[in-house]
Symmetry: D2
């Protein structure tokens, strides 16, 4: 199964901590337009957690997602090495998955890290970035011209 697992899989207690952080972050969501709160929690290579929520705008295209908020927070605090991200929403029966834009922002910082997609009850599925954004365009492609 090795090929299905991120190379640096998380210990169960780390996973739980990350899921709880993403659920907690969801409470700060600013989503007066979609009424669809989302939270995310990002684990760095040195064990820190940065969390984010969606932040919407009256001009819908100017909003941003929870996952990107978390990543931009980490970068702005000097962290670029990511191990995993967890995502939470109020969906009861579906695992909330990152949008394509968030997958591309995650992919800027590597393809071999883990995305935990959860249901409201805390159950989850996990995929690598590589699995969620196959055949991706990335930083190295810009060098080729």
């Amino acid at each position: 199964m090795a090929q299905d697992c991120p190379s640096r899989a998380l210990e169960p207690e780390h996973v739980q901590r990350l899921l709880l952080s993403s659920q907690e972050a969801k409470k700060s969501a600013y989503c007066p337009y979609s009424h669809f709160p989302v939270g995310a929690a990002l684990l760095t290579g040195n064990g820190l957690i940065f969390s984010g929520c969606n932040v919407e705008n009256a001009c819908y295209p100017l909003g941003t997602c929870a996952e990107r908020t978390a990543i931009q927070k980490a970068i702005s605090e000097g962290h670029k090495d990511f191990r995993a991200i967890a995502i939470s929403s109020d969906l009861q029966d579906d695992f909330i998955s990152p949008c394509g834009a968030c997958r591309q922002v995650m992919r800027e910082f590597g393809t071999d890290w883990a995305v935990y997609m959860t249901k409201a009850d805390g159950t989850y599925v996990v995929r690598t970035l590589q699995e969620l954004l196959p055949a991706s365009f990335g930083p190295e492609d810009l060098q080729k011209i």
Copy 2:
């Protein structure tokens, strides 16, 4: 192999026409910042082609990609049923692939249509949206809350 093919696969002459349109569209690219021109050509269910190029901005996040330009053009002309999109760049040795944001915009209009990713010499690989954006979030998910 049926599961690897979009349900409404294109005839070779349609594919060639689509590739040529995407290469032609690339010539209009406005990319003074990346110097990385991209063209796209979108085939609708009733056989029309809408093409687009990347349009960049001095404030980089305000640019847009060729694929999205093509899709928004089609929508603005009243077309929402898409069969295939072809993408062209100047990359010699790599098949140019859509970014995550474009995959999400494509996915709004279905998961079972074809993305032709080309090299500069016109060779290509083809994938469905479903393959390029697995476990995707889409319009129906917003109804579930």
Copy 3:
């Protein structure tokens, strides 16, 4: 008053043609999430009109506005010299104005052209880009470092 007028002010019949185009374009709006249709019509230096509508996405930040759709269409057809843009919505009592993102995209192609902001009854106010985005950041600023 010269300073309040774009240097290349439109003749009344051109204005009417542009307003009608923007109202017509509004009919193609894909806005199942906001239910707020918007249309735009862009006049090029050589007298062509390109129109656009808003195109939303289940992941709200991936939508785009009518004004940007119109501009990207024009660019993708080889036109970069713009004289004026008109914007229409269903607002009865307010002149629909462009969001900040659209103002920045417009500004990439000059500061001295006209934005016609309309009410549903076709009355309008007109401002230059310079007035709508004062003290703007633009292409020349990137050269300064």
Copy 4:
């Protein structure tokens, strides 16, 4: 002059603290494509400072600006009442100003707060959101249909 000043003008020491924070934040900028680092520092109504930097992406449109990073950080930590934001870049001879997208994101949280635009030497000009995004579209406009 009252009309030129935000209603809750900052004391000089607050301004200096804010400028220094924005300059410090600039050091974390992830800008391998533009090589144009920007920092921002946001002051909340209760005196907290949240800072941000630009975070770019190989797919340029997926990057974000320093100002938006700072605002999204504050929101994700539960703060929505903003007094002022300062912006820093490496421009020697020009006051760095926010792009239109950032102005729209700022405007979501009020029009009567202050934007400090600085040169590399720390000199600045200050404008309100209202001045930087006149005739703006905002949350209340969505209610009107």
